[in-house]
Structures are given as C-alpha cells and as structure tokens.
C-alpha cells in the first residue's frame, strides 16, 4: 500500500510498473481502517478479527466490491 499525490499519479505508476489498478482509499478511510485494525494490537485483549468482523468493518467504511471480497 502506497501513498500517491492523486489519481493520475496512481495511473502513471501502475502503467510504468505494469501493475493492475487496485483500490484507492482516502486518508480518512485508511485512518479509520488502521485504527480499527491496529488500535489495540499492543493490548492483552487483542485478537485477530474474524472473517465476519472484517467484512463488517470493510462494509462500514464503504469498502465493498470484488476487491474487498474476503471469501473468493
């Protein structure tokens, strides 16, 4: 996952490195995902999210569609 200045920079980089275009997140979306994913990683009670929990989290952030499908 890389931070780009904008859409055209992503397109140029994908073309240059022959990478398929993936999915883009805003800083706010990524921050909310990062907080939910890693916010308690240092805590005793941390555990990995279940598949259902991860799907619910992605849905909550509007991350839907085949790219975010975990059961394919």
């Amino acid at each position: 996952m890389l931070l780009f200045r904008g859409e055209e920079h992503i397109d140029r980089w994908c073309s240059q490195w022959r990478q398929a275009r993936g999915a883009t997140l805003t800083i706010d979306q990524a921050w909310r995902l990062a907080r939910a994913w890693y916010g308690n990683k240092m805590e005793t009670h941390w555990r990995r999210h279940t598949l259902d929990e991860t799907e619910a989290l992605l849905n909550e952030l509007g991350l839907t569609g085949s790219f975010w499908n975990l059961r394919g």
């Binding site: 996952m1 890389l2 931070l3 780009f4 200045r5 904008g6 859409e7 920079h9 992503i10 140029r12 980089w13 994908c14 240059q16 990478q19 398929a20 993936g22 999915a23 883009t24 997140l25 805003t26 800083i27 706010d28 990524a30 921050w31 995902l33 990062a34 907080r35 994913w37 890693y38 916010g39 308690n40 990683k41 240092m42 805590e43 005793t44 941390w46 990995r48 992605l58 991350l63 085949s66 790219f67 975010w68 499908n69 975990l70 059961r71 394919g72």
Partner: protein, 148 residues
Amino acid sequence: MTGTLDTNVRVELYREFVETGRPPSASHLAEMMGKPAADIRAAMERLAAGKAIVLQPESREILMANPLCAVPTPHLVRAGTRSFFGSCVWDAMGVMAMLKTDATLETSCPCCGESMAIGVRDGQPAPDPGLIHFAIPARRWWEDIVFT
C-alpha cells in the same frame, strides 16, 4: 498454558519494540521474561502461524510486529523522539493508531518522488489530498505478506 505465554510474549515484544524503537531478539525476550529461549521461540512461531507477527525466513527473529517493521522502509513514523518504520503506508498509519499519540508519517509519492507527510494530532489526521493505493485484493494479502 501456551495461550497465556503467547499473549505475554506478544505484549512484551510490542512494549519493548515501542519503547526502544527496535524489535527485541528471542534471546532478549527470554532474558527479560525469565523463560527458556526455546519456549519464547516456540511462542513466536505460534504467533507467526496465527498471523500476529512475521518472522525473518532464516533467523526466525522478528521481521514485522505488524504494523511495526524491523527493517527500514520508505514509510517512517516520527512520534516525539522515537521513530518507527511501517511495512507500507497503511501499516505506518497503523503505527500511529497503535501509539495513540501525535505523530507524523513521512513518505514520498512512488510515481514522482515528491515528499509527502500525514500528521496526526489529537487522534485525527490532517486533511491531505493524497490517496492510498491498495494493489493486492484483500483476500490475497497474506499469500505473500512481505510483497503486500
């Protein structure tokens, strides 16, 4: 109880990593925790199997205590006098989320090399026009987590 030992090893290794900015070795963890090194290494292997951490392929020392990365990357987080690397920009944001303190992520646009930064103050990122690109579909992230 391996479950309790694994939790204690995870918490201790993260605490040490965050405090010193470097991942503790298995032998250092064993010394700190007063446990046999073989028990600590076994716990680290179980944590890696459970995808809580990633070990280096040969030494079996810590490569990633996700979101922290043991080796230098282009994604640097500065928090006060401490600095950390994230394996990717999202992990670096995860470092800031995990530390729960004001911090700044320094990186650069992979396309043009222009420097970029994301600052987090009082738990919120500063408005930024940047976009994060995820190249690998979510269900394939752990097929090769180092590449991801």
